[in-house]
C-alpha cells in the first residue's frame, strides 16, 4: 500500500496537514478551544453543567450531553445557507456519539452539558476538526473526562489510499472515511464512510486513520498543557 507519489498539496500519502490548536479562546463559554487542520478551522464552546431547558429533556440520574455542529455560511467557497440542515443534524448526532465514551455524566444529574461547534473555514474533514476542538473545550470547562478522542479522516484519491482528506481531494476523490479514536482503549468512537472499496481495503484505511488520530491526540494534549 505504500506509495511514493505526492498529493495535490505536496503531502505524502500518510501525512497530516499542519495542526494548530488553542485552548480558552472565548470569554463567555465555560470552556472553549480552536482547532485547525490545514485550512479547516473550527471553534468549540462548552456550557455546563447547567440547568436543562426544556425541562422535560432532563435526566434524573445523569447529565445529558447535547452537541450542535454548525457550519458558518462563509465557511465554504460558495456561500452556504445559514441554519441547520439534514447534514448538520447527522453530524451533530455522530459527534455526540463520538464524545460519549469519554464523559462522566453520572456526576451531574439533572443538568445539561452543551457543546457547540462552529466551523469557520471548511476544507474537508470538518466534523473531525470539530470533535478535536470539542474535547479541548470540554476539558477547559473543567468537566471530568476519561481522555480525549482524536479525529481525522483517511480515504482514496486517484485510486491511492491517503490520510487526512483535504478540500480538493474530497471533491475529486473516491472515498472519504472520517474516524474518531479513543487511544487509551484503542476504540473507534466515530466511523463513517462513503465511497467504494473492499472489506480488506476498508480495514487498511481505518487503521491508517487511527494512526493519524494518534498524532492528533498528541497535539491536543500539547495544546492543553501550554495553556496552563
Amino acid at each position: 500500500m505504500t506509495s511514493d507519489f505526492t498529493r495535490i498539496d505536496g503531502r505524502k500519502w500518510d501525512e497530516l496537514r499542519p495542526i494548530f490548536a488553542s485552548v480558552g479562546v472565548l470569554n463567555k463559554a465555560d470552556g472553549s478551544a480552536m482547532f485547525r487542520l490545514g485550512n479547516t478551522v473550527a471553534v468549540a464552546g462548552v456550557y455546563g453543567p447547567r440547568k436543562v431547558y426544556p425541562k422535560h429533556e432532563e435526566e434524573a440520574e445523569r447529565a445529558i450531553l447535547r452537541t450542535k455542529y454548525n457550519m458558518a455560511a462563509f465557511a465554504t467557497s460558495e456561500r452556504g445557507r445559514p441554519g441547520t440542515s439534514r447534514r448538520s443534524i447527522e453530524i451533530s448526532m455522530v459527534t455526540r456519539n463520538a464524545l460519549m465514551p469519554i464523559m462522566f455524566l453520572d456526576e451531574f444529574p439533572r443538568t445539561a452539558i452543551d457543546v457547540h461547534i462552529e466551523v469557520l473555514q471548511a476544507d474537508a474533514s470538518t466534523r473531525c476538526v470539530g470533535i478535536n476542538a470539542a474535547c479541548l473545550a470540554l476539558a477547559d470547562a473543567g468537566l471530568p473526562m476519561k481522555d480525549f478522542v482524536a479525529s481525522c479522516s483517511a480515504g482514496k484519491v486517484g485510486d491511492k489510499v491517503v490520510l487526512d482528506i483535504a478540500g480538493k481531494e474530497d471533491t475529486e476523490g473516491e472515498l472519504d472515511l472520517p474516524v474518531a479514536y479513543y487511544p487509551k482503549k484503542k476504540q473507534i468512537t466515530l466511523l463513517q464512510m462513503d465511497g467504494i472499496t473492499t472489506g480488506k481495503e476498508a480495514r487498511e484505511i481505518i487503521a491508517l486513520a487511527a494512526k493519524g488520530a494518534e498524532k492528533i491526540y498528541e497535539a491536543q494534549k500539547a495544546a492543553l498543557r501550554t495553556k496552563y
Partner: protein
C-alpha cells in the same frame, strides 16, 4: 406493550442467546412485497420480523444540480410516523429519521449501481428527480436495514413515466421503463451488546446495545464491495470488532440481496 428490560437482553446475549431464539448472526424473517402501493411509480412493503416499513418511489422533472448538470437526482427521506411506535412524535424528522434516510441513501448512491446519467432529460435544464420516501409503520428495531431493503426494492420495482413534448409527465401513458440499476446495494447493521456481536437487532436489543455498525454492500461482478459505513451508539468499537462486523455484513448482505432479487 411490554418492553424487555435491557439488562435481561444483555445477560442473555452474554450467554449467546437472544430473546427470539435467533443465532447471533441470524436475520429475522424478511418479507418483501413489491408494487404494494399503486399511487407510487414504484413501491415495496417490507417486514423484517415485526418491523414494517413501506417505501414509495415518485418521479418528478426538475433542474439538475449545478455540479452534475447531466445527471438525475436522488432524494431519500424517512418518516418516523407516530403510529409506528409510542415513542415517535409528530413533527419534522428528528435526528434518527434523518440519520436513517441519509445512511440508506449513502449505500445506494455511493455504490453507483444507478446510472444517473441515463436519467438526464436535457443537460443543464431538465432531469428526472427520483424521490424515495419511506414510512415506518411498525418499529421493532433495525429501521435502517428494513428501510434499505424497502428502498432498493421500490427502486427496482419502479417504472419511469412517459414525457410529453414539453417535458411534463404524461399520466395517461403506460409506464414501461425500469430504472437503470445494475446492482443491489443493501445496508446491514450489526450491534455490539457487551462483547458480543449481534446481527439485525430488535427494538429491545437496540435499547441494550453499546454501539452498532451499519455497512452498505453491493455485488460487482461476483465480488462483494462496500459503499458506506456508519457507526452508531454511544459506545466504542475496537478495530477487531469492526473487522468482524464488516465480514458479518458482507455475509448477511448476500442473503438479503437474494431475497430482494427473488421478490
Amino acid at each position: 406493550m411490554i418492553s424487555i428490560d435491557p439488562q435481561l437482553v444483555k445477560d442473555m446475549v452474554a450467554s449467546g442467546k437472544r430473546i427470539d431464539n435467533r443465532k447471533l448472526d441470524e436475520y429475522r424473517d424478511i418479507k418483501i412485497e413489491k408494487g404494494f402501493v399503486t399511487s407510487a411509480e414504484g413501491s415495496a412493503r417490507v417486514k423484517l420480523g415485526n418491523t414494517e416499513v413501506l417505501a414509495g418511489v415518485k418521479f418528478g422533472v426538475g433542474e439538475p444540480f449545478a455540479d452534475t448538470p447531466d445527471e438525475g437526482v436522488l432524494m431519500v427521506g424517512a418518516e418516523f410516523v407516530p403510529l409506528a411506535s409510542p415513542d415517535f412524535e409528530s413533527g419534522p424528522p428528528g435526528e434518527e429519521a434523518i440519520e436513517t434516510a441519509r445512511v440508506v441513501d449513502r449505500a445506494i448512491r455511493e455504490s453507483k449501481v444507478i446510472d444517473f446519467k441515463q436519467l438526464c432529460i436535457k443537460p443543464k435544464e431538465k432531469t428526472w428527480m427520483v424521490y424515495v420516501d419511506i414510512d415506518i409503520l411498525d418499529n421493532d428495531g433495525n429501521l435502517i436495514d428494513a428501510c434499505s431493503i424497502a428502498a432498493i426494492s421500490a427502486l427496482l420495482d419502479a417504472k419511469l413515466p412517459e414525457l410529453d413534448e414539453d417535458f411534463s409527465i404524461d399520466t395517461e401513458k403506460e409506464r414501461t421503463k425500469k430504472l437503470p440499476i445494475t446492482g443491489v446495494p443493501i445496508s446491514t447493521t450489526i450491534a455490539r451488546i457487551g462483547n458480543k456481536l449481534v446481527v439485525d437487532p430488535t427494538l429491545s436489543e437496540e435499547l441494550a446495545l453499546d454501539s452498532r455498525l451499519t455497512v452498505g454492500t453491493f455485488d460487482k461482478n461476483g465480488e462483494i464491495m462496500l459503499s458506506s459505513m456508519q457507526k452508531g451508539g454511544t459506545g466504542g468499537l475496537s478495530l477487531e470488532e469492526i473487522d468482524k462486523m464488516v465480514s458479518m455484513a458482507e455475509h448477511a448482505g448476500k442473503k438479503i440481496r437474494a431475497a430482494v432479487l427473488e421478490s
